[in-house]
């Protein structure tokens, strides 16, 4: 657990990656005797992680990690051999996903034309990578970032973009409708991509999507493939509470109606395209990919 917190402090690492890395460490130090016991311990570890940081990405990353390492049948009679195989695969998985952000960046930056005005929401490392790639390609564009209360992550994003010498403006969350007519495209990150092809992201994404649909602006989502999760919310209410609120709030507060949710759900009908390391997908293709990943 301490390992996780330590890795977390590195600002460049996604929370899911940190989770997976710590799970790998846990696996290395693990002492169980049977494969079943191993799995149980891993699941327990994932639950512990979810309790400290209740984000969709941690849960999806954890589940995918577990599936990936135990995907094929482990027929070695010796448990330590099995463990070694699993650890190897775990490292492989980790390597793959650390490269995924780069892949997404490469795919997406071609969609940014010269002179484009981009709107984005809150702070996302993937979007940052995309804009970095585009800037490195000598494209000129301006970015509008929403403040994204209650944690003002937008300001952080603006700072990072400034460091890249990209002209950036911070707008109020309430000014999304006002600014929509000026922008050419909207790019947001995702905390989780659900089975229907919709995304779960910082609160305020949904209204941005609705606005962009009304103005006929393309709405792009960038996400790595380990964020695919097996949820299927029908509407905002259907998203489980454990993702909506921070973990410490869940534990201490009695009446959740008084709290502000941290995430919302954007249905697939409002999303134009999803950029993932598996390629550029339409929302209906997400289910296809999920079936391939999980089945």
């Amino acid at each position: 657990l301490d390992e996780y917190l330590r890795i977390r402090e590195d600002p460049d690492v996604a929370s899911a990656v940190a989770a997976i890395r710590s799970l790998l460490e846990f696996l290395k130090r693990e002492q169980s005797e049977t494969i079943l016991g191993l799995r149980e311990n891993m699941t327990k570890a994932i639950h512990r992680l979810e309790e400290t940081d209740s984000s969709v990405a941690v849960s999806s990353g954890g589940e995918l990690f577990l599936r990936f390492i135990s995907l094929t049948s482990l027929e070695h009679p010796d448990l330590s051999q099995c463990k070694n195989v699993m650890i190897e695969r775990g490292e492989l998985f980790l390597k793959k996903i650390s490269l995924s952000r780069g892949k997404v960046g490469k795919l997406c930056h071609t969609f940014i034309k010269d002179g484009a005005k981009i709107l984005t929401h809150s702070s996302s490392r993937v979007v940052l990578k995309v804009l970095e790639n585009a800037a490195a390609d000598n494209k000129r564009f301006t970015v509008y970032v929403t403040e994204s209360q209650p944690d003002s992550a937008g300001k952080l994003m603006a700072q990072k973009l400034c460091n890249l010498n990209i002209p950036v403006t911070v707008v109020l969350d309430a000014a999304v409708g006002y600014i929509m007519e000026k922008v050419d495209l909207v790019i947001v990150g995702a905390e989780g991509v659900v089975e229907s092809g919709g995304v779960i992201n910082k609160i305020g994404t949904y209204q941005m999507a609705v606005c962009s649909k009304a103005h006929n602006k393309p709405f792009y989502v960038v996400a790595e493939s380990f964020k695919f999760v097996r949820l299927y919310p029908l509407n905002q209410q259907d998203v489980p509470d454990r993702f909506k609120y921070k973990a410490d709030i869940l534990k201490t507060v009695k009446d959740l109606n008084q709290e502000h949710p941290m995430i919302d759900y954007t249905p697939p009908s409002l999303i134009t395209l999803l950029f993932t390391d598996l390629g550029v997908l339409t929302p209906s293709a997400v289910s296809d990919e999920l079936i391939k990943l999980y089945l």
Partner: protein, 531 residues
Amino acid sequence: MADSDGRQVDSINHSTGKICKELTKEEKQRLRKEKKQHKKNKKDDRGPPEKEKEKEKASVLAPSKPATQSPAHKAAPVPVNASASESPVAAEKPAKSKAEQRAERRARQDTERASKQGKKEGGQQSASSKPKATPNELQPVVKRLPEHIQVDDPAALKKLAKKLERQQVRQINIVPLRSDYGYKVSLFSHLHQYSRKNPPTQQISIPATVIHPSIVRLGLQYSQGIIAGSNARSVALLHAFKQVIQDYSTPPNEELSRDLVNKLSPYISFLSQCRPLSASMGNAIKHIKKEISNIPSQCKEEEAKRRLQECIDSYINEKIILASEAISKYAIEKISDGDVILVYGCSSLVNHILCEAFEKQRKFRVIVVDSRPRLEGREALRRLVKKGIRCTYVLISALSYILPEVSKVFLGAHALLANGYVMSRVGTSQIALVAKAYNVPVLVCCETYKFCERVQTDSFVSNELDDPDDLIVTRNGKTHLENWQTVKSLGLLNLVYDVTPPDFVDLVITDLGMIPCTSVPVVLRVKNVDQ
């Protein structure tokens, strides 16, 4: 353009003064007795051994009835009662003959008859249509429309008759051609329209050796609407096939795997004449045929039969019973306390889900929407109220009144098409449309064995026309439509199915999990890879 063709004069007495009402149980029994009498008379011409064979088959039917009753119990109480009323009729005939001798004699007579009656003359019209869900396995080069939706083209029918005459050399194929009834609306003149008062068995006689009696019984049950509902029809079909396989014996110099498949074809044509095959039935038949042809040739007959019976049992168990358990598991996650759920008509799967959810102590109430002329919602209402679920009952015309109260809509499906369209009872697409307008999530529940490779974007090209007389109703002693045949410009249209586009459906719950409507071809692809 096809008006004059579509209109046919019905020779059988459709008594003009008679009001068409649902056949009561006594009438059904009478019909069945008539049919058996009819067959018996024909049997007397052919000699005693046939009659005793028939008795023996009847006795085999009687013990198998308890077996059919328990799974058919899921379908509706009506078919159970119907078959129960039939068993005393069948048991009247004493049957103590030895099965083996009969089988041998039967087999001998089969081969004799096959060689003797080489080409059956056109006296008995033996044109039959093969409405397979994927019709063009025979003509791989040219994609043609399936024959059952080319009813208005006399050339196509003649071609079919000729093709079957050619097939007569190998097998007896006396499958009756039901004549269409009444004036068909021109947009649907390419579909069959039969009257329930003319069951296919009344017009001609079907000797038991050509079509197995349990298949005849099944066909009658389909055409009279005694067995209705996609799952019920498939289960009944599979049970009838089990009976057929039980009574089947390989003729000499023939292989079971090839001969049995050929034997099944006229049965299937007969059933499709009684009522067009559903997608679920089509898939079940495909599965069985594949299993039969996979039987190794050195397998003994008893062993092969046993294997096939097991295979059918496991198919029913996996694809229907266990699938519904899995679907309820997923669906219950989507039902939260305080929900108001809307259901339409009677879907065995949706009823099962709601009953399970109620047992798991979810607090919800149900609104049952119903529509004429079938009024299937009453059956669903009966089942739910018996469980103790709070229900409201409305007709479909009150839909927009009641929708603001609703939090979720659960629909059953007859089939899911390869382009994501949902084919279901007529009225479903209306409900999905209005629910979308009110932003109410629409969930469709469907087992994977109902997924079919067909593609359809509208409800016209392939549908089913039910008996138009069902639309005639008597209120306050007055029947306004009873003389509708005499009015030349009047047509009654009683559609059975319609298709819902995937944009209106939010979620499809299958035994593989919850998928969006656009992922149906993915599931089909995965299934094909598995096979």
